[in-house]
Amino acid sequence: MDDHDLLLTRRRFFGMGAAGIGGLALDSLLGPDILGLKDALPATGPHFRPTAKRVIYMHMEGAPSQLDLFDYKPELNKYFNQDLPESIRQGQRLTGMTSGQERFPVAPSVFKFNKYANNQDGVWLSELLPHTASLAKDMCLIRSMHTDAINHEPALTFFNTGTQQVGRASFGSWASYGLGSANANLPAFVVMISQGAGNMQALAARMWGSGFLPSEHQGCKLRAGDDPVLYLNNPKGVNRDDRRKMLDLTNELNEKEYQRSFDPEVRSRIAQYEMAYRMQMSVPELTDISGESEATLEMYGEDVKTPGSFASNCLRARRLAERGVRFIQLFHRGWDQHNNLPNEIKGQTSAVDRAQAALVKDLKQRGLLDDTIILWAGEFGRSVYSQGTLTKTNYGRDHHPRCFSLWLAGGGIKPGIVYGKTDDYSYNIVENPVSVHDLHATMLHCLGFDHKRLGYPHQGREMRLTDVFGKVIKPILK
């Protein structure tokens, strides 16, 4: 018995039961050429017929202010610069950035809100989002989101992986694991990042990591510029045939290693080499927007021609959606407006407003909105009291986990509605609270999964995106 056999521990052997035997089944289904140009089979498949086949998740990193965008509180003007009543705050813990403040003066939004027709009795939206407001009849605005975390890192981790601790699988990798790719030439989960105008927070790659899931389910980051996937192009002097021969040999060696060690990660590595080989062809085709009509480009706005802009990423998102990618995640950074909010937020909204509205309309006319869930969200909300000096025209807002707003559209979500309600200060939820787990459960439901059954064995228990929580919010489903 050599060293390697000793490494075939009990845990590895039974771990093989999940991935390994699944892999063997995959092998038999697909024939011997699992490594070649084959449609990736999902590890599970929808539990019931889904209303959505893919997700486009626009994450506004830093947490946009619900008070200045979505949660209309006209009465707040009466309380300008008054102290936030203790009956509202109720001893809520604050971040270290404002916990030392002597007082918590109420800062009403300086922005005007307009009323737009939706499928209920209308929705009030901020003047900062005029294009997005034109989606009023398509969007489901949730004003009663709440989260457990009060700082960016744990809140982002919670929103993306279902827990504040690091190490779990991200939402997109669950979708990839459950649904598989609908395009063998592209990864099932793609991530794109755009830089914002304001205060930016760190953004770790584990937000789209696969955690304990096989690593081919992790998000693939597409970069701006000519080289969207690093090291994807062949170096000078290597042509495609050479690359193929090299991969064949490497795969053969890796396969031998797998037969010896039963490590599913070896299979993942083989699959990823092959994916990369296919992406050498598919990615240039994806990012080449020369075939897009002028009208389309104009709809997304001028920025669309600037690689790395949010608008450019929105157009790419549509192109990815048409090509069968299951989970497309856009991060737009710079929403963390602790100071000078009224000025900084304008830079943020002007970067996203037109493009995100265009994305939804573009998907709609192509028939893709019916089975694509759009999610637009930050990781938490912002406080009604001003951080720092409050004037009639300027203020800052600290983090606020007790309530925030986000919107969804398409994919079986009820269009043109507002769900949930906050108190007069947009501080506490008074109607229909929705937790991050509930949101995950609801979106998984649209994708055809019972969130309690989409699991993966790890560390002695069945892991889930929703951990042991979450309920499907039926009233927002069609």
Partner: protein, 424 residues
């Protein structure tokens, strides 16, 4: 005293297993003793058994005094045999000295006890509890509700007394598909074929049992939960009368995968297929699609051929052969207006950027993104108080929406609408 008796009665389910075990054991003991000509069981065993059996029978009688028991054949015979068992056990003890008489009495008593036990078990667990596992149908791998296998037997068992060739209450028959579709005098067709909802038969099933329109009527045998679940599932499928869909040919699916076409059943226990040519759209033509999809036409419910510029009307005969097709994307293909007739039967067809529906982005832009969706309300101030309105309190007056600040203002407003609107 009554309360104590009640408690005594309720001891019945606890006590009853004791005399059963003791009597049964005694029977085996005496059988063995008779064969080997040995002495009878100790007297203390026999007398204790008699005491316990008498107590059990008495407690059973007391329990019967409580309301809530259905006075049927089963209860009646359980009681008779139970009391007889109690008496039998006492007689056994009394005849202990005469071994032959004692053993004969014991034999009869054990027989009575088995009968009492059977009826008692039927009372608590229901008829056929014991053998039910043997009668279960073997579970199929893919469970698809079928009219012939699942639904027709339910209708026959629970509905045919009033709705079949024998009798047609409400002029409705449920024994053949054509009669079900023809329906009765009140509701018309009993099912809304082809649709997941709007089935009159389901509405009647779901009414309260007390409702006079509830089916089956109160007092008749009701549907079990399993039966009603099966019917619901069948109706959700649109009440299909044909055989359930067979699984698609695996080799045809394999061929799709070899050609980089995405194919997936719509859910794990379905045989319906979603097929998407996303990965190879630029390279396919009519012939490739026909070759690949012809063996699968019966199973396809969702099909995307979007961005396949070389696809044209030559594909229409193939599409016409897909009876289950619900969603079809022909976005950015060379389909022209001549094909329209074939597409009419499909619930959703996406035709953006084809000859049937020219690229519309210009129109979307023309409707200025900003103004689209804006609505003019009569006022953003409450007509009664002048305060800012809350959209929750909206009414429609003379075709116009009027909004208020609180739930009380609309009441005031309705008293004299003109007064408040004229003020503005």
């Amino acid at each position: 005293m009554n309360l104590l008796l009640e408690v005594f009665g309720r001891m019945h389910p606890m006590l009853l297993h004791m005399p059963m075990g003791m009597l049964f054991g005694l029977g085996i003991y005496e059988l063995n003793a008779w064969r080997k000509s040995k002495k009878s069981a100790p007297r203390i065993w026999v007398s204790t058994t008699a005491l316990v059996a008498a107590f059990t029978a008495g407690s059973g009688w007391m329990l019967h005094e409580e309301p809530g028991y259905v006075e049927d054949f089963v209860l009646e015979w359980h009681e008779r045999l139970g009391i007889a068992t109690g008496i039998g056990a006492i007689l056994c003890a009394m005849s202990y000295n005469n071994t032959t008489r004692y053993r004969k009495t014991l034999l009869i008593t054990v027989g009575l006890m088995l009968g009492a036990g059977h009826f008692g078990g039927t009372m608590t667990h229901g008829e056929g509890f014991l053998l039910e596992p043997l009668q279960r149908e073997p579970k199929e791998v893919v469970e698809v509700v079928s009219y012939a296998d699942d639904i027709a037997p339910i209708f026959k068992a629970k509905c045919s007394k009033c709705h079949s060739a024998r009798k047609q209450k409400g002029e409705l028959r449920l024994d053949k598909p054509e009669w079900i579709l023809k329906g009765g005098e009140d509701d018309g067709p009993a099912v809304n074929a082809g649709h997941p909802d709007g089935h009159p038969i389901l509405e009647r099933m779901l009414l309260d049992l007390e409702d006079e329109d509830h089916m089956p009527p109160e007092g008749k045998r009701q549907l079990t939960d399993k039966e009603s679940d099966l019917i619901k599932e069948w109706l959700l499928l649109g009440a299909p009368f044909g055989p359930p869909l067979a699984a698609a040919d695996p080799s045809a699916i394999q061929r799709l995968r070899d050609n980089l076409v995405h194919v997936q059943t719509v859910s794990v226990d379905s045989n319906e297929l979603y097929i998407d040519f996303a990965a190879t759209a630029a390279d396919i033509n009519n012939q490739i699609v026909i070759d690949l999809l012809t063996p699968l036409t019966a199973n396809i419910v969702e099909l995307s051929l979007a961005r396949a510029r070389n696809i044209d009307d030559g594909l229409m005969p193939l599409i016409a052969q897909m009876p289950r097709l619900e969603t079809l994307s022909l976005v950015s293909t060379s389909i022209t207006s001549e094909s329209e007739a074939t597409l009419e039967d499909i619930a959703t067809v996406h035709l953006f950027d084809t000859a049937l529906q020219p690229e519309q982005i210009g129109d979307v832009l023309a409707v200025d993104l900003i103004t689209e969706g804006t609505i003019e309300f009569a006022s953003t101030e409450c007509p009664v108080t002048g305060k800012i309105v809350d959209p929750k309190y909206t009414i429609v007056y003379q075709g116009k929406e009027v909004q208020f600040c609180c739930p009380n203002c609309p009441k005031t407003f309705w008293e004299d609408p003109s007064k408040y609107l004229d003020n503005k």
